[in-house]
C-alpha cells in the first residue's frame, strides 16, 4: 500500500515500452511479472510481443526502451553496433525435439540433437520449421549447420509462424519440430506429440534483457528501462521465474540465470 | 363468344386493417374488352394486380379458362398467357429494344422472331428510332410507349391495361386507340382496360365497369352505364353534372312531373307520386337559348330560366354553368356559343326533353 501511494503521488512516470518475443507472453510469464513491477515502481509497462527480429529491429530504431529476447548471436551484433546500452542474462529454458508417438524415424532418446536432425533429413521425415527468423529458428539453423545439412525439399516445411502454430502444424502433418519446452507443455493436451530428444547442451535457450542505447535515440525512456532491467534480475523476480509454471506443469518453464 | 376466360369469386384484398378490394364476382369473357373506370384509389390497379396473378388476394378464388388458379408453380403457365401494362412504366435499366424484347426472351423466343415482332411494335408505337436508347433517358410518353410495346409484342390471350395512354400526346393516343380497337378485335384478345378517359372507355369497351371504394358498383354496356347510372355517385362519376333532388308530384304512363325548389320538371320515369328522387341531367342534353329568341325546339319540353355564371372553352365545345337557383351545367358547341354571344351574366333559357332526364330513386 505504501508503494502504491508513493507511485500515485510522484509525477506520472513515462511508460516503458518492452519489446519481447511471443514466447514470454504466450507462456504467461509477463502477466506474472509486469503487474508486480508496476505496483512497485509506478511505471506502466507496454509489453509488445513480436518476433525476435522485429523486437531487435524496433530496438535499433529506438522505438522500444528495453528488450527481452533470445537470439544470442543477433544480440551480440546488436550490442556491437552500439544499439544497446547493457545486456544481461535473465534466464534460459530448453529446446526439445518433438514428434509423433510412434516415432517412425526412431530418434527417441538420441543424445545429440544434430544427429537426430540428420537422421530425420535422411529419412525425409516431415520437419516443421518456424522459418520466421526467431530465436528458436536460429537455434534450429545452427543445429542443421552442425549436422552438415542444408534442409530443403518437400519434407521441410517453413511455417513462418509462432511456436504454437508450428506445433499444431507438426501434429497435423505427423512430423517433427524443434520447440521450447514451455510452449510444448502448454499445448501438449491438444496435440499428439511427444518429446523425443532433450538434454543436449546445444538445446539451451538464453534470454537476455537489453537496454536500448538512449544516446542514439533521444526519446528512449532510459530510467524506466533501467528500472525494469534491474527488476528482472532482482532476487524477487528471479524467484518468481523459478517458481513460474511449477504448479501447472510440475516443472519450471524457465530457469533463472541472473542469480545462481 | 361468352366463354369465361378469367373469373373471380369472392375476392377480398386487405392491406393492414383496410379492405381495398371486395369483388364478389367478376368474369372476363373471351374476346371482350372490359373497360374499367373509377376515382383515384378505387382499387382498379389492385384488381389488375390480382387478375394478373401478381398478388394473391387475402381471400377468394380465381379461375383461368375454368381452371382454378392455385398459387403454386403452375402460376407461371397462366401468367405467360397474359400481359400487363402497369400504370407506371417500370422499365428495366437497359435499351428500349431490350425492354420491349424482354417478355419474348423470357419465353425463349428465337432471335428472328424477337427482331421481327419487337421491330414491328416499336414502329407502330413510334419509338423505332429510340430502339437503342437507354430506357431511363426516355421522356414520360416515350417510356409509356415502350411499356406498351413490351406487352403487345407478347400477343397474349389476356391483356390488362392500366391507364395505358395517360402520358401519350393526343394524336398518338387517338391513332393508337383506333389501331388497338382493330387489333384486339382481330386477334380476339380478352382485354381489361383501366382508364380515366370516358371517351376511351366508350370507344373501346364492350362492357364498362365502374369501381368505387374497392367495389364494382355497376357493370353494363357502356352506353347503359352512361345513360342510366345505378347510383348518385356513379352518375356524378360518369359525367352527369347536374343532379337535382325532388319529389314526384304525379306520374302517368311513364311521364312524371317532379317538383324541385321553385320549378317543376316533366321527365320520363316510373316512380310513384310522393317518392323522393334525383333528376340527372347530362350537360350535352341541355340546349341554351337567349330569352328573346323564339322557342327553338318545341319538343324540348322543359324550360328553365337562368343567368350564365361561368363559361369555359373545352376545345370544340363550351361548358356553361347556368344559375337557375341551382347550378345547371350545359355543354354547347362553339357555333351555339357564337350565335348566342354568351357572356357571364347573360340571361338564358335552358331547355331539355323529358327523355333527356334520367331519374334515380333517392336513398
Amino acid at each position: 500500500p505504501t508503494t502504491r501511494k508513493a507511485a500515485a503521488e510522484s509525477p506520472p512516470k513515462r511508460a516503458i515500452i518492452l519489446a519481447t518475443t511471443t514466447s514470454t507472453q504466450d507462456s504467461g510469464l509477463l502477466d506474472a511479472l509486469i503487474p508486480i513491477f508496476q505496483r512497485k515502481t509506478g511505471y506502466v509497462v507496454k509489453a509488445i510481443a513480436v518476433g525476435t527480429g522485429e523486437a531487435l529491429a524496433i530496438g535499433k530504431r529506438g522505438e522500444a526502451d528495453v528488450l527481452l529476447v533470445h537470439a544470442p548471436e543477433a544480440e551480440e551484433e546488436f550490442m556491437a553496433q552500439g544499439h544497446g546500452l547493457h545486456r544481461k542474462a535473465v534466464m534460459h529454458n530448453n529446446f526439445v525435439i518433438v514428434g509423433p508417438f510412434d516415432d517412425p524415424a526412431k530418434i527417441k532418446g538420441m543424445a545429440s540433437a544434430a544427429e537426430a536432425l540428420k537422421k530425420l533429413a535422411q529419412a525425409r521425415m516431415t520437419f516443421v520449421s518456424r522459418g520466421d527468423g526467431s530465436g528458436t529458428h536460429k537455434v534450429e539453423q545452427s543445429l542443421w549447420k552442425k549436422a552438415g545439412i542444408d534442409p530443403k525439399g518437400n519434407w521441410y516445411l517453413e511455417a513462418g509462424q509462432g511456436m504454437g502454430e508450428v506445433l499444431r502444424i507438426t501434429a497435423q502433418k505427423r512430423g517433427y519440430a524443434l520447440t521450447d519446452r514451455g510452449t510444448y507443455l502448454a499445448l501438449r493436451k491438444g496435440i499428439n506429440l511427444t518429446i523425443l530428444v532433450e538434454g543436449d547442451p546445444a538445446l539451451q535457450n538464453f534470454y537476455s534483457v537489453i537496454l536500448v542505447n538512449p544516446s542514439k535515440h533521444t526519446r528512449v525512456n532510459r530510467v524506466g528501462a533501467q528500472a525494469f532491467a534491474d527488476f528482472l534480475v532482482s532476487v524477487e523476480a528471479q524467484a518468481l521465474i523459478k517458481a513460474f509454471g511449477v504448479k501447472e506443469y510440475g516443472q519450471p518453464l524457465f530457469y533463472p540465470d541472473a542469480i545462481k | 363468344m361468352s366463354v369465361p376466360v378469367l373469373e373471380v369469386r369472392d375476392i377480398l384484398v386487405r392491406y393492414g386493417p383496410s379492405v381495398v378490394l371486395r369483388v364478389p364476382s367478376l368474369t372476363l369473357f373471351s374476346g371482350e374488352i372490359l373497360a374499367l373506370i373509377g376515382p383515384n384509389g378505387a382499387g382498379k390497379s389492385t384488381l389488375l394486380r390480382v387478375l394478373g396473378l401478381l398478388e394473391a388476394p387475402s381471400q377468394g378464388e380465381l379461375y383461368f379458362s375454368g381452371q382454378r388458379v392455385l398459387w403454386n408453380a403452375d402460376i407461371l403457365y397462366f401468367r405467360r398467357r397474359m400481359a400487363s401494362v402497369f400504370q407506371e412504366p417500370l422499365l428495366c435499366d437497359t435499351t428500349v429494344f431490350e425492354n420491349a424484347a424482354l417478355g419474348l426472351r423470357l419465353r425463349g423466343a428465337d432471335r428472328r422472331e424477337i427482331l421481327n415482332r419487337v421491330g414491328r411494335w416499336l414502329e407502330r408505337l413510334g419509338i423505332a428510332a429510340l430502339a437503342s436508347q437507354q430506357a431511363r433517358t426516355l421522356s414520360g410518353g416515350e417510356a409509356q410507349r415502350a411499356s406498351l410495346a413490351r406487352a403487345f409484342v407478347l400477343d397474349p390471350e389476356v391483356l390488362l391495361l392500366d391507364e395505358p395512354f395517360a402520358a401519350l400526346d393526343p394524336p398518338t393516343r387517338e391513332s393508337l386507340l383506333f389501331d388497338l380497337d382493330t387489333i384486339l378485335r382481330e386477334t380476339g384478345t380478352t382485354t381489361l382496360f383501366v382508364t380515366h378517359d370516358r371517351s376511351e372507355a366508350l370507344l373501346l369497351g364492350d362492357r364498362l365497369g365502374v369501381m368505387m371504394g374497392g367495389e364494382v358498383l355497376q357493370l353494363d354496356l357502356p352506353e347503359r352505364v352512361f345513360a342510366t347510372p345505378a347510383t348518385e355517385e356513379v352518375a356524378r362519376f360518369v359525367g352527369v353534372e347536374t343532379i337535382l333532388p325532388g319529389k314526384v308530384i304525379s306520374q302517368e304512363r311513364g311521364l312524371a312531373v317532379v317538383g324541385l325548389e321553385g320549378t317543376e320538371l316533366e321527365v320520363l320515369a316510373e316512380h310513384s307520386p310522393g317518392e323522393r328522387v334525383l333528376v340527372c341531367l347530362r350537360p350535352e342534353d341541355i340546349t341554351l337559348s337567349r330569352k328573346e329568341d323564339p322557342i327553338s325546339d318545341p319538343s324540348a319540353g322543359n324550360r328553365i330560366y337562368g343567368r350564365v355564371r361561368r363559361l369555359a372553352p373545352l376545345g370544340s365545345q363550351y361548358r356553361v354553368v347556368v344559375d337557375c337557383g341551382f347550378p345547371l351545367v350545359a355543354l354547347i358547341t362553339k357555333q351555339s356559343y357564337w350565335e348566342l354571344s354568351l357572356k357571364e351574366g347573360t340571361e338564358v333559357i335552358a331547355s331539355f326533353k323529358a327523355s333527356a332526364a334520367y331519374v334515380l330513386k333517392k336513398h
Binding site: 520466421d132 526467431s134 513462418g160 502454430e165 497435423q172 | 407461371l76 405467360r80 397474359m82 417478355g103 423470357l106
Partner: protein, 232 residues
C-alpha cells in the same frame, strides 16, 4: 516514412524483376481469394435475394444473423475451421488442414455473409413494383432472380468488391488454417506479417503494396463495369 518509400521502391523492384517467390505468393492469394469470392457469390447472391423478397416469421432474425456474419472475426473463423478439419475433427479424414482448400473454406465463411448482407440491401432498394412487372412479363422464379440481379448490378458489384476486399486482405484465418507454409500456403498477407515479425519492415511494406496493387487492378476492372453508362 523513409521506410514507406523504401517499401514502395522495393515493391516495384520485386515486380519488375519478376521474383518467382513473390509471383507464386501473389498468384496463390489471387487464386484463394478469387475462388472464395466466386463461391460466396454463388451462395450469397441467391440467399440474399431470397431473404430480401421472402416474408416469413423469423426473417428479421435471419437478416440480423447474416449482418452479424459480416463481422465474423477471421480469427474465430480460422479457429472454427481448424477445429473442423483437425485430424480428430469431424472432417479430419479429408486431410485438408494447412492446404489452400482449407483457406478457401475459411474465406468463404468470411465473404459469404458480406455478399449476402449487401445483396439483401441492394435487392430491397429496388422498386417493389418492378418485381411484379417482371412477373407479369412471364418471368419464372429463376428469370426473376437474374433480372433483379441485373437491375441491382451497381450495389451488387460493390458487394462483390467488399467481399473480395474482405478476404484478400484478411490474415487471421488464412494464417491459422493455411499455416503460412512457404511454397504451399503462404499468401501475401501472411508473408507480410512474417516479414514484419522478422523486422523486415521494408519488405513487409513492399508486399503490402503489391497486395494493394493487385486489389486495385481487380477493383478497377469491377468499378469500370459498375460505372459504365451511369446516368448524368
Amino acid at each position: 516514412m523513409d521506410l514507406i518509400w523504401e517499401g514502395i521502391r522495393q515493391a516495384f523492384w520485386l515486380i519488375l524483376q519478376g521474383d518467382s517467390e513473390v509471383l507464386r505468393i501473389t498468384l496463390l492469394s489471387l487464386q484463394v481469394s478469387g475462388s472464395a469470392v466466386l463461391i460466396s457469390l454463388f451462395l450469397g447472391i441467391p440467399l440474399g435475394t431470397y431473404l430480401a423478397l421472402a416474408r416469413f416469421p423469423g426473417r428479421n432474425l435471419a437478416v440480423s444473423l447474416v449482418n452479424t456474419g459480416m463481422g465474423l472475426p477471421p480469427v474465430v473463423v480460422g479457429l472454427f475451421v481448424t477445429l473442423l478439419l483437425w485430424r480428430n475433427g469431424p472432417l479430419g479424414i479429408l486431410d485438408l488442414l494447412f492446404t489452400p482448400i482449407a483457406m478457401i473454406i475459411a474465406q468463404v465463411i468470411i465473404a459469404a455473409p458480406i455478399v449476402t448482407g449487401l445483396t439483401i440491401a441492394a435487392i430491397q432498394q429496388l422498386n417493389p413494383q418492378l418485381r411484379l412487372q417482371l412477373l407479369a412479363l412471364g418471368a419464372s422464379r429463376l428469370q426473376l432472380f437474374w433480372l433483379l440481379i441485373r437491375e441491382a448490378r451497381l450495389p451488387l458489384l460493390a458487394a462483390i468488391m467488399a467481399g473480395f476486399g474482405g478476404v484478400i486482405s484478411e490474415v487471421g484465418a488464412v494464417m491459422m488454417v493455411g499455416g503460412n507454409i512457404k511454397g504451399q500456403t503462404r499468401v501475401l498477407t501472411t508473408a507480410t506479417v512474417l516479414e514484419s515479425r522478422m523486422g523486415h519492415f521494408d519488405l513487409a511494406i513492399a508486399l503490402g503494396v503489391i497486395l494493394l496493387l493487385l486489389s486495385f487492378v481487380v477493383n478497377w476492372a469491377l468499378t469500370w463495369i459498375q460505372q459504365q453508362g451511369r446516368p448524368r
